[in-house]
Symmetry: C2
Subunit: 395 residues, 2 copies
């Protein structure tokens, strides 16, 4: 029997405890030993929970118990989650986490501490909910070079955008519905502002390139400014607007951006709807690969946390060991160099637009897609005096 | 430096050699050591290849060389690939393979020999080309129970079906075009008859359930009988016809079938087109997850072979160790118990059809989808006296 501890008994923590209990026999058969939750750290008590007797309020009980070699951190937020994780790794205990904020901010340091102490810091649940993506990126692309990542990484915003497209709703109405269904929080800023997507993009970029971008340096646009009219015009042309985290290699360097993009009808991400996530990876020589699934919620996230727990038990406490470094100046291209074709809608006559942007493909009244790709900075200069213009990057 | 050998210098073998050479520096940096191809076994000589000096014709050179601890088998066919693989594993050498025929027929035995000799028999390239699927299935579903697999596992047939749908071609015309483009072989039976898909389904089923079906026991329909008219009617309703390998758990037991299925507009597999593959897995509690990518061709398959090679070097020669047993009578439900809703097209009046099949949803002239699901055997009994009928299962 192996004994573990959970930090946090919220949605993900409770889901993980329930999953480990539900599949107790299956797990014991697969691992050849059973997994027991000895402690659950939370500020609250849960007298009616079947795990009521495991609840502790003092972190020291966990970090000082030599029987505990593996801890799942599901507290959310940077502190004290980071501090607890660091303390545990320094004591030679492995940590698995669903906490993308900690991984994006402190992943380099925590992985190095884990390595020095011959344990793992695993974070499958930090990106893509239940979709297997972190472990495949560290193992299944070993022979190749990942050149592009384009991910629908946030279920809340994808639900809102799907409602806008399929039901013709405005952003405000779709957000209100998402909130009423519990898909969006009362303060939805982290989701709709793109900040959640940005952190996840940084984690994926680190695994793909060995360089963890500073998330504050990645240009991040949310979805609040997307007009129902653009969504309608593009839907009529078979296209969908998706909030993406994108890393693309330009001139040999990674360039990252978080923004709404137009996905054409045949693009694999076009069909990723509702609260689902999809992550497209283009690698040499593999070509396009996509990972699709439920990106949030108790069950999928708990599933990823539990898989990290079980694979460390099966494969060894030091078996997950990616390495990456913090981006130094010049390691990445700035977001303003990000280059993409553009969707534009403006009252300016087509001839004048063509003179400025080159060949255009009409997709609706006063709405066009450019044939040429422009960097963000070049495009900003080109539209300076255009007047009212609505624009989106094209994936 | 680690020295390896390749068996077979055809499309996949040559692709693997080229990939390991192209990314030589990258790979050495990732592994901390370089990987050198010492031998390539083939009946032919390749005097103009950069690997001409590695070609050998005698298998004994490889199996007797103590410097060779890892071999990639890419010969295709059951013999002598199986015999060579067994001999190598018995000598304590790891084998990776792209050979689905050997895995489907002899996987149980070869994995057991590998286990006894503390080495691995790895087969990422045997299913889904370059899509990471074998390793994720052995690691990323550890905490859950896979209940359904539905896979577009053959690029040739998916190309033909995409041509029929998008260009209104008949099966014969689409096949001829696939052959002219090199996507289909002169004798296309293994692909269009569903036999390739069936073997891959058996491998995935083994990983999901621990039980390897006997592939000859899995009901297998190909795509030659699919009518252009049904494809047209269904496309008009947003649906696509896809050749799928499906495992679904019914009454606690796996039930497998290989057949063309109708995928509705919003289904993730609907949008998997051309030579791409897509594998949908439904697990408890994870829900739906899909893996998508290039399912065939030199680069994707070589990429998967090379990933197996490199991950065994990185993680240890005994690091890939799934186990499954051969199906015994009663372990699986027979294919005739496979239960699905049905698409039917027949001249019989709707009232008579409703009396027989229950509620129907019209999708075109004389074409309907049933609301109820029928087992294959129950459905066969129901249509015995219907006369001319065209039918497909619905996913």
């Amino acid at each position: 029997m192996i004994q573990i501890a959970l930090l946090g008994f919220g949605v993900v923590g409770a889901g993980t405890a329930a999953l480990l209990r539900k599949h107790e026999a299956l797990i014991a058969a697969r691992l050849g030993q059973s997994v027991r939750i000895k402690y659950i750290l939370d500020l609250r008590d849960f007298p009616n929970s079947p795990f009521a007797d495991r609840i502790v309020h003092d972190f020291n009980v966990i970090q000082n118990d030599p029987e505990i070699a593996l801890i799942a951190e599901m507290m959310g937020g940077e502190h004290p989650a980071y501090d607890y994780t660091k303390a545990l790794l320094l004591r030679g205990k492995s940590v698995v986490t669903s906490n993308k904020a900690v991984v994006a901010a402190f992943g380099v340091e925590l992985l190095e501490i884990a390595r020095q102490n011959h344990v793992s810091y695993a974070f499958e649940a930090s990106v893509g909910g239940g979709i297997p993506i972190i472990r495949p990126m560290t193992t299944d692309f070993l022979s190749g070079q990942i050149q592009t990542i384009a991910g629908i990484l946030n279920g809340t915003t994808n639900y809102i955008l799907t409602q806008m497209k399929d039901c013709g709703k405005t952003y405000a109405d779709a957000l209100a519905e998402a909130q009423s269904k519990g898909y969006a929080e009362k303060d939805p800023t982290a989701d709709v502002g793109g900040f959640d997507t940005c952190r996840k993009l940084c984690i994926l970029t680190a695994l793909a390139t060995g360089i963890l971008p500073q998330y504050t340096e990645v240009h991040t646009e949310g979805i609040a400014a997307i007009s129902a009219e653009d969504v309608r015009i593009l839907a009529h042309a078979g296209c969908a607007v998706k909030l993406l985290g994108v890393m693309q290699t330009q001139n040999g360097k990674p360039c990252c951006i978080t923004a709404p993009f137009v996905c054409s009808e045949k693009h694999p991400l076009n069909n990723v709807n509702d609260v689902f996530n999809g992550i497209l990876i283009h690698a040499d020589p593999l070509g396009d690969t996509m990972f699709y699934g439920r990106g949030a919620g108790a069950d999928p996230t708990a599933s990823a946390v539990a898989n990290d727990i079980l694979s460390l038990i099966r494969d060894g406490m030091d078996s997950f060991a990616p390495t990456f470094v913090s981006a130094r100046p010049g390691d990445l291209l700035p977001s303003q160099d990000f280059t993409a074709r553009r969707y534009i809608r403006t009252a300016m006559p087509k001839e004048a637009l063509t003179a400025r942007f080159g060949d255009l493909h009409a997709v609706g009244d006063d709405a066009y897609c450019t044939a040429a790709a422009f960097s963000d900075s070049a495009f900003a200069a080109l539209i300076k005096d255009v007047g009212q213009i609505s624009t989106l990057r094209i994936l």
